[in-house]
Amino acid sequence: MRRFLLVLAGVACAGFLHAADEPLPKAETLLDGYVDATGGRAAYEKRKSEIMSGTIEFAATGMKGTVASYSDVSNNNYTVVELEGIGKIESGVYNGQPWESSSLQGTRLREGAEKADAIRDSTFNGPLYWRKLYSKAETVGVEDVNGEAAYKVVLTPNEGKQQTIFLGKKSGLMIKRVATISNPMGEIPMEMGMANYKDFGGVRMPASMTQKVMGQEFSISVQDLKTNTEIPKDRFEPPAEVKKLMAAK
């Protein structure tokens, strides 16, 4: 047994040496590979709508809540987060106009770079359309992400700031994303980790996500994700106060 292990260790070491000299794969290979690793183009194209529900928790501060999101091929979406002691935070994209409404800050329309980010993120089956969403994608290295070697790919959108994604060398799955949230409140660095990929209607998606923003960390656990369930059209309609702002625009 010992000899067997040593042989395997030698093979592994040889593999590392080889990898060190190996040229980095092209970003397009990795991004297309991500589509394949998560189910393939055909599986994505079968998806016409998505309803997700889950929980959200700020472990350090003890805040807990629920999250639900609705999206479909119209690229409209609606997300509602309800946190204990805070209330409802709603956001969405409606006919190309991103918006947000919360009991904390009131209501607003997202504009500028923030609007571009929101529209890009709301693209249904987004991984299929990365060539349209980003003007440039470049593999810049290999990094360790929680003990897993990952290709580091920098994506440059048509409008907005660059973001970096990390795709597992073995799995091809996205395991980390680093971006800057553009917001009237500032340029806020954000880091998101993805794990626990599960098959939801033929496409594998992360069921666990952690996000770090301004020194605070929260996690989202997907409890349920239904695909191709009919979503009432009015589900995407924003609250009346948002509609007033849209009308006044």
Partner: protein, 423 residues
């Protein structure tokens, strides 16, 4: 925090090795968190040295209280607000004076401020047991059960490093001292309007407002009141918490007063809460986009406190009333609107305790509050230690209270009436 240091009483219960280990773990967590998250450590403070000095005290502590005292000493070296260690049982830290009867959240219905070194009743809640007992604004509280108030105030006052926060901390201490479980009674001794001693036995009632829980923070009760007097709107609430209730009721108050000549927001005694709510409420009064109340600066980023205008904004004069009990989010709100030229501020200088903070649970079960950022108001002034200086400074006097006056509030209403005349 300093109040806690001052009043900490040693608990004699022996600790198990496991408890000691959890205290050391907690100490290390507090030290590391501040090292890693403080936006800019105070000049001249050697944080490694602080650890080397105080960690042995936790290692050799014979009680949870001793360990906590060392941790409070550590965070006290920062000399900044919003750093605190709160025991699981809050009464534990406040010592015998607070421990004897204190066991609930109820109160007799009094509000208190420190005037000329004495705890003076500034308001008596309508229909409360205090009102039914005949207590009046302007009376001085001399004793609560067995506790002499003036010596207690002197004792706490002696260890308060930042004088600007003294009024806030002392009045909060007296209010805390009067808390009882609803239905139980408290013996209070007063000096009445004629400076005659008066003793009352007053029943405590449930705290005003709805109970709200926010993460690991201790439960609080939140209330909101609004009125329309002489075609001027008025709103007051006790904390910036419970956004679903507060924001909805505030919105209703403003919208039901669309044609009012002005609006008065009374933030006296309001110690703050959720910072972002300042932006949400300001949105009812700011019509221009891209205006901000100030900037929160963390170690690696800045967060602008941007105001998002509501679809229907109240455009007439706005007055904000503040005092030494006005702190944190209340200061962010008041100073921001003052700097933007949108509000005129009346009352006395505020507490200057305005650092954004979070509240976590330590391994030993205690709560740990720590500031994560500095806050600079729109006019360029850090609020910490400086607070809000009113445009019209009016300090409350016992004489005015006894005469049934509220000079700061009256001045705010008078100013709006003057604006109406000159319109």
């Amino acid at each position: 925090m300093l109040l806690s240091v001052a009043l900490t009483a040693a608990l004699l219960a022996a600790m198990t090795p496991e408890q000691r280990s959890r205290n050391i773990e907690s100490f290390d967590y507090v030290w590391t968190t501040i090292r890693d998250k403080h936006w800019s450590m105070p000049a001249g403070l050697d944080w490694d040295k602080v650890r080397d000095e105080l960690r042995p005290k936790v290692e050799t502590a014979t009680s949870a209280s001793q360990a906590r005292t060392a941790m409070l000493d550590m965070i006290g070296r920062l000399k900044q607000s919003h750093f605190n260690i709160v025991p699981q049982d809050v009464s534990e830290v406040l010592g015998d004076a607070f421990k004897s009867e204190h066991s609930g959240e109820g109160d007799p219905g009094l509000d208190v401020r420190i005037i000329d070194g004495h705890a003076v009743v500034v308001s008596v809640a309508d229909g409360s047991p205090a009102q039914q007992s005949g207590v009046r604004p302007g009376w001085v509280i001399r004793k609560a059960d067995a506790v002499e108030i003036d010596p207690l105030l002197r004792k706490i006052s002696a260890v308060i490093v930042e004088p600007r926060t003294r009024g806030l901390m002392l009045s909060r201490a007296v209010l805390f001292l009067m808390q009882r479980s609803a239905g139980s009674t408290i013996k209070l001794e007063f000096l009445d309007g004629a400076n005659q001693p008066v003793a009352k036995e007053i029943r405590a009632i449930d705290p005003r407002g709805a109970a709200v829980k926010f993460g690991y923070m201790p439960q609080v009760h939140i209330w909101f009141e609004s009125a329309k007097k002489d075609n001027i709107g008025y709103a007051r609430w006790n904390m910036f918490m419970d956004p679903p209730m507060l924001m909805s009721r505030f919105g209703d108050a403003v919208q039901s007063c669309k044609e009012c000549d002005g609006f008065v927001i009374d933030l006296r005694g309001n110690p703050g809460g959720l910072g972002v709510m300042a932006m949400g409420i300001a949105g009812w009064f700011i019509s221009r986009p891209d205006q901000k109340l100030g900037v929160m600066k963390t170690r690696d980023s800045e967060l602008k406190f941007v105001v998002f205008p509501r679809s229907e904004v109240f455009a007439n004069p706005l007055a904000i009333v503040v005092d030494e009990g006005t702190a944190s989010t209340s200061e962010i709100f008041a100073e921001g609107l003052k700097d933007l030229g949108r509000a005129r501020i009346f009352g006395s200088p505020t507490a200057g305790a305005a650092l954004p903070s979070v509240f976590e649970r330590l391994p030993n079960g205690d709560g740990f509050q720590y500031a994560i950022a500095n806050y600079i108001a729109e006019g360029g002034k850090p609020l910490e230690g400086l607070g809000v200086t009113p445009d019209v400074e009016i300090n409350l006097t016992r004489k005015a209270l006894l005469a049934g006056h509220d000079p700061a509030l009256e001045a705010a209403f008078d100013w709006i009436r003057e604006q109406r005349k000159t319109k």
